[in-house]
């Protein structure tokens, strides 16, 4: 779950992190009204990706008329596949410096990393590549969170290359901000929680001028109210029309699905095995249409649902179902495949490769229903590629 900028800022504000005054506008008239209240504003496209400024999705305007005109222009845009549904109109800031403060999962350290840099306003990955000495990190103890001394160390380390900034004063401010941001990240189960740029104003205040917040999918059950609020708030519908429609549908069905470009449908259990199935289809000259992992312990209904999902893409010429049962049971899979074939009257070729837990029961069910299961994945890959080529 990726929050839009204004949604992230609402969370920041609630956590006591200063943000500029702003208003959401879904129409040009609302943008004009916002500018009448706020004065000179930045009109910013609300899409869940970076690089909005470069794409022309941000405009600074002096008058309500200009706000209306620019909002009309931006609301008509589509930024890398994401139609702009709303703009955030926000008072401009006096800027002394642009800093960076972010929290993200560091999988190598198995902890969250807090990252600080005086080089804000650009992608932190780019700073890391071009001037790694300008970045300082800290990996807080998950039981006590970031301590003030650690944050001071981080800030002093990062500011060694920015002598114009008063590190002593900033360290105290950043420590307080870091603790607030960290608490927010933990309470929201954030995978990423980033303020970029963190603006230092000429009068010495730190204000979050842009924000990025992404919530861990595994923790959605703890944030249902937020998810609901966001979905409604975002666009009036589910706010995901910029995404691939098949992937949106799969998410609605609760399936782990990635849409690809080819015509061979792929379903399997276990991410590694499904990836290997894609590799096998490619090795044998086919082109996978999707990645669909039914996961561990899939029920017959989930298998049926998956097959239906994969066949929604009209380009799919046939489906390769590759199951190695551990926690997943062969008879459940077979029941699901047969139910889908009968209910949906599937005539496209289905190649099922099944082995592992309850494989004999599963294979017997399939054979009884007239589907010949394959034993080896390689053999099955050759078969589905041949069958889907024939029907081309």
């Amino acid at each position: 779950m990726k929050l839009l900028e204004y949604q992230a800022k609402q969370q920041f504000a609630a956590a006591g992190i200063p943000v500029p005054a702003g208003r959401l506008a879904r129409t040009p008239a609302e943008a004009a009204a916002a500018a009448r209240v706020l004065g000179r504003v930045a009109v910013k496209a609300q899409v869940p990706i970076g690089g909005r400024g470069k794409a022309g999705g941000i405009a600074v305007v002096e008058t309500p008329d200009d706000a209306e005109r620019e909002a009309a222009r931006i609301l008509a845009m589509d930024i890398r596949g994401y139609p702009v549904r709303s703009v955030w109109c926000e008072t401009g800031l006096e800027i002394d410096s642009e800093l960076y403060l972010g929290i993200t999962l560091d999988r190598d350290r198995r902890r969250m990393a807090i990252i600080f840099s005086a080089a804000g306003g650009m992608e932190i990955e780019q700073v890391a590549e071009e001037a790694p000495e300008k970045i300082a990190k800290l990996w807080p103890d998950p039981f006590v969170g970031p301590q003030a001394f650690e944050v001071r160390e981080m800030v002093f380390a990062a500011l060694r290359h920015a002598p114009q900034l008063r590190a002593q004063v900033l360290a105290v401010q950043v420590a307080s901000l870091t603790q607030k941001l960290y608490s927010l990240a933990v309470s929201l189960d954030a995978m990423t929680c980033e303020i970029n740029p963190l603006v230092l104003t000429p009068d010495g205040q730190l204000i979050a001028a842009d924000g990025k917040l992404e919530v861990d999918e595994n923790a959605h059950y703890r944030h249902r109210a937020l998810a609901l609020e966001l979905a409604q708030d975002a666009t009036g519908d589910d706010g995901r029309t910029g995404d691939d429609p098949f992937e949106v549908e799969a998410e609605r069905r609760g399936l782990t699905y990635v849409h690809l470009d080819g015509d061979v449908g792929v379903i399997g259990n276990g991410a590694g095995l499904v990836m290997n199935t894609l590799d096998l289809v490619k090795q044998h000259g086919g082109d996978p249409a999707d990645f669909l992992d039914v996961g561990g312990g899939a029920s017959a209904e989930k298998v049926r649902n998956s097959l239906e999902m994969v066949l929604l893409d009209p380009r799919v010429r046939g489906v390769f179902i590759n199951i190695f049962g551990g926690i997943t049971r062969g008879d459940e899979v077979a029941t699901g495949v047969i139910a889908a074939r009968d209910q949906l009257r599937i005539t496209k070729p289905l190649v099922v490769r099944m082995t592992g837990t309850r494989e004999e029961e599963g294979r017997a069910l399939l054979e009884e229903a007239g589907i010949t299961p394959a034993i080896s994945a390689t053999e099955a890959a050759q078969k589905i590629v041949a069958l889907t080529r024939d029907s081309a």
Binding site: R107, M112, A219, G272, D293, I327, G356
Partner: protein, 294 residues
């Protein structure tokens, strides 16, 4: 010999009364595992097909001397179950549960480290020392004893390799599935170190996938530790598009990191043989074992 578990392991199952816990406890026992206790809060005093059930891990350990735990509890309670096991001094905790929130796992892993115990997983298939002890969900019939150590990130691909080797007559000392989550317990390097010290393991298969840098770290371990057993490596996701999360939370190519090529390069540089298919894994392992026998 074997690594981590053997016929002396006394196994406890957390979540023994759930659908998966109950089914796989029986599967584990059918493979010869000595399951001494189950834990299911509120169901203490009952039994599961003769296995005594306790309300807490502490009680189960006191009563039965359990030293390995397998966790089959749902994601919202799994991190707590891991910490309960570690707090009770269980030497090896194996967490099968998929879908545990990352922040929960960061805390649970730090907790396990402090308790100086080992964690395998989560979101993993567990491990098996054929004929002696299985903790987890690896299908029983494919495991036969032999000289190969297997360590894999993907559960089902690990099964493929176990089966492929078995059909060619090559069994395993121990097969270990480390799991596909971004925050996990034992890593490739940890398990490789165990295989290095196990005199009966004569070759190792490493099954990796895109995402993260664990395979690269494993390769670095092979290089720097003077690992002297042949390693055959297989990496899945070679045709996966960048930026897409392929099922496992950890399986994603971000920017230039986590690509199959980077892993293959690191492992090749460390002297591992790279297999393009499961069939090739089997062939290469056969060659290496044969060459050693001569």
């Amino acid at each position: 010999m074997s690594v981590l578990v053997d016929s002396k392991s006394r196994v406890l199952v957390q979540g023994i009364t759930g659908r998966e816990g109950a089914f796989h406890t029986e599967q584990m026992r059918a493979h010869g595992t000595n399951v001494v206790a189950g834990v299911s809060p509120g169901k203490g005093g009952q039994d599961a097909n003769g296995v005594p059930i306790f309300d807490t891990v502490a009680e189960a350990v006191t009563a039965t001397g359990a030293d390995v735990s397998g966790i089959f509890v749902p994601p919202p309670f799994a991190a707590d179950a891991i910490m309960e096991s570690a707090a009770c001094g269980i030497a090896l905790t194996v967490c099968i549960t998929e879908g545990i929130p990352v922040h929960d796992m960061i805390r649970a892993r730090a907790f396990v480290e402090r308790a100086r115990t080992l964690l395998l997983g989560p979101n993993c298939p567990g491990l098996v020392t054929p004929g002696q002890c299985k903790v987890g969900i690896i299908p029983n019939h494919i495991n036969i004893p032999g000289p190969v150590g297997i360590v894999g990130r993907s559960g089902t691909l690990t099964y493929e390799v176990i089966q492929g080797l078995g059909q060619a007559g090559m069994g395993q000392t121990t097969s270990v599935g480390i799991g596909g989550d971004p925050v996990l317990g034992l890593t490739f390097s940890d398990v490789l170190a165990l295989f290095a010290a196990d005199s009966q393991t004569r070759a190792v298969v490493m099954i990796g996938e895109i995402g993260g840098a664990d395979e690269e770290t494993g390769a670095e371990f092979i290089r720097s530790s003077g690992f002297d057993k042949p390693v055959v490596a297989f990496i899945s996701g070679r045709t996966a598009p960048p930026g897409k999360r392929m099922g496992h939370a950890g399986a994603i190519i971000s920017g230039n990191s986590g690509t199959a090529q980077s892993k293959i390069d690191a492992l090749t540089a460390a002297g591992a043989d790279i297999a393009d298919t499961i069939e090739e894994v089997v062939r290469l392992v056969g060659e290496r074992l044969g060459a050693r026998a001569l």
